[in-house]
């Protein structure tokens, strides 16, 4: 009736649709960009802005909350010419899979300028013996943050993982990370095994143990910092950096590594196969592992980085922290998460069973 003139409607519709595209144009930049995919807390905005100013580029940072998420998004973006990532930060156990799937570019170590200051202990990690594809950025452990105001009778130094699960005094007071590999590692440690050497039966037994001892567990969470701060847990399964940071702001919280040992992990820089801005990626790696930034990182995040000069510059309380820089003795009880890919389905099933009661 009224809309007899079809041209009007067509024009209207087209202009509406163009509006959608127009709004996208408002953000088109002419600078080159570095596309970074990392843990959210590692590189605060200030560091990214500094890098942007220095190289006159734009840094686009995307954040993942687990390595599995990183792998998924990486796989989805690997065939894209324009919207892939330039620099990613996988943990040690994710590297093997990425290498096998040919998702990474080999590193050109001549482009790295800090190798003289690089901690020799990390030059030949088990998952990338000659640092062909990755370069470690930070390392930490996964232990327990004990909240002594909630559990005043605990001696943190004598804590064991066995206690964590079996001691009725901790009923409903413990939280675990929402990470199937970390949790499984803990259960294996109680039996004196670890993920790298575990057999199929060991893993099955570990899951049986976990299912039988869920009483003490209050929640599975990756938001450990707010959970600790809210006082939701007396024993909190946590990464060392967050545990130590909590300890620094609240002396009632103590980060410890239980008697049976713990996971040690590294987060590593890697460059995806379809990265476009390699030079910027290398520049960022150099900047992140420079003495100055490494030092800042260690002070803020409480994880160790691989720059020995930076370590030498740390204040005494940090340099001598036994959990920030584990001794050789402690190092014997620290194990990398190294899951054989044959066990992936087994892990998955066990985890679903654990979460289905």
């Amino acid at each position: 009736m009224v809309f007899k003139n079809t041209k009007i409607i067509l024009a209207f519709t087209l202009s509406i649709l163009l509006l959608g595209e127009f709004t996208a144009c408002t953000k088109r930049e002419t600078k080159r960009e570095l596309r970074l995919y990392t843990w959210s807390e590692y590189f605060p905005d200030s560091v990214l802005r500094e890098f942007e100013k220095e190289y006159n580029v734009q840094v686009k940072a995307d954040y993942f909350s687990s390595n599995e998420q990183l792998l998924t998004k990486l796989q989805l973006s690997i065939n894209s010419a324009d919207t892939g990532y330039d620099l990613i930060l996988p943990s040690d156990y994710a590297v093997a899979g990425m290498v096998e799937l040919k998702l990474l570019k080999p590193l050109d170590k001549t482009k790295l300028n800090f190798l003289n200051d690089f901690d020799p202990a990390f030059l030949h990690p088990p998952y990338d013996k000659n640092l062909e594809y990755t370069i470690p950025m930070a390392s930490g452990t996964t232990g327990i943050a004990v909240n002594t105001s909630i559990l005043p009778n605990v001696d943190p130094t004598k804590l064991t993982w066995k206690d964590f699960f079996e001691n009725p005094a901790y009923e409903g007071k413990a939280t675990l990370l929402n990470d199937q590999k970390e949790v499984l590692q803990v259960a294996l440690l109680i039996k004196g095994k670890n993920l790298a050497t575990a057999s199929e039966q060991d893993i099955k037994d570990a899951f049986t143990y976990l299912k039988a001892h869920k009483n003490n567990i209050r929640a599975f969470t990756d938001e450990t910092k707010p959970v600790i701060e809210a006082g939701d847990c007396g024993l909190c399964h946590v990464y060392s950096g967050e545990g130590l940071s909590a300890q620094r702001s609240n002396p009632k919280i103590r980060y410890v590594i239980p008697k049976e040992g713990a996971t040690i992990w590294t987060d590593n820089f890697a460059i995806p196969r379809n990265a476009k801005n390699d030079d910027l990626a290398y520049a960022f790696i150099n900047k992140a592992l420079s003495t100055e930034n490494a030092k800042r990182f260690m002070e803020n995040m409480n994880y160790q980085t691989m720059n020995t000069k930076a370590k030498a510059q740390l204040p005494k309380e940090l340099a001598e922290n036994p959990f920030l820089f584990p001794s050789a003795k402690l190092g014997k009880k620290l194990y990398y998460i190294n899951v054989k890919k044959e066990f992936t389905l087994l892990l998955d099933r066990g985890w679903t069973e654990l979460k289905s009661q």
Binding site: T13, I16, G20, T23, T26, D62
Partner: protein, 244 residues
């Protein structure tokens, strides 16, 4: 009746209780000064608003066109459209998000503003159609016919006879699409790619370590916008009541 009144107040209090906490944490000078200094956050906020506005404009206009189109369809066609409209509403958001991710990757659509906008339009469109369909069904065509008979130009007919009747529906649809888009986390999480960050995504990533006071200040801002628009709609409603 008095018991019901007390009961209602209690329920309202229950619904507002978290808001009191947010306002309490956000209504202080420090929070606001941090917010104003945080260019990145303000940028993300404006970006999300832009996305929401674009979504609601496109969703509502296309829904209006669809509502008019429905009038000329056979009853079978109408039933099909109804079913098609309801189908997305029974899909959980997370399924939407995942489906879009897989689909957009498969058809090689780059993940960014376009994918984000398309996804937002996709899930708000159903709601817009329902509202606009309702609105178009209630149009009194004799007013339009009268205007035609009086010899008004096509544009004048639209502007004075048709558009005012559609306005309540357009407003309702826009408000709904706007709030759905602004609040959406799950779908945006999957389709945004690296180039876009929306407000809910930013809040989620801050949840892991610390939610700064500037976020609470931002929630106060959102609260004020909400109150403001509700007041406006109340005033406008009273005006229409008076005139009719």
């Amino acid at each position: 009746m008095k018991m019901l009144k007390t009961y209602s107040f209690l329920v309202a209090f229950f619904l507002w209780s978290p808001l009191f906490i947010l306002l309490y944490k956000g209504m202080n000078a420090r929070a606001f000064s941090l917010l104003l200094e945080n260019d990145a956050l303000l940028g993300i906020f404006m970006r999300s608003i832009l996305l929401a506005i674009t979504t609601c404009i496109i969703s509502t206009s296309l829904a209006t066109i669809t509502a008019f189109a429905l009038r000329t369809q056979s009853s079978l066609g109408q039933k099909c459209v109804e079913m098609g409209t309801l189908l997305p509403m029974v899909l959980p958001e997370i399924a939407f998000g995942i489906s879009f991710l897989v689909w957009f990757t498969k058809i090689d659509l780059p993940l960014g503003w376009t994918s984000l906008l398309l996804a937002h339009i996709a899930f708000t469109f159903s709601y817009s159609i329902i509202v606009m369909k309702n609105s178009v069904e209630r149009i009194e065509w004799r007013i339009v016919d009268a205007a035609k008979d009086l010899g008004a130009s096509r544009f004048a007919i639209f502007r004075h006879a048709l558009f005012p009747q559609l306005l309540p529906g357009i407003v309702a649809s826009s408000v709904m699409a706007f709030s759905l888009s602004l609040d959406d986390f799950l779908i945006s999480f999957f389709v945004k790619g690296i180039d876009e960050v929306t407000l809910p995504i930013k809040i989620y990533s801050m949840m892991r370590h610390k939610i700064g006071p500037e976020i609470y200040a931002l929630s106060v801002v959102l609260f004020c916008i909400s109150v403001f628009s509700v007041l406006i709609s109340q005033v406008w409603y009273l005006k229409t009541q008076k005139s009719s």
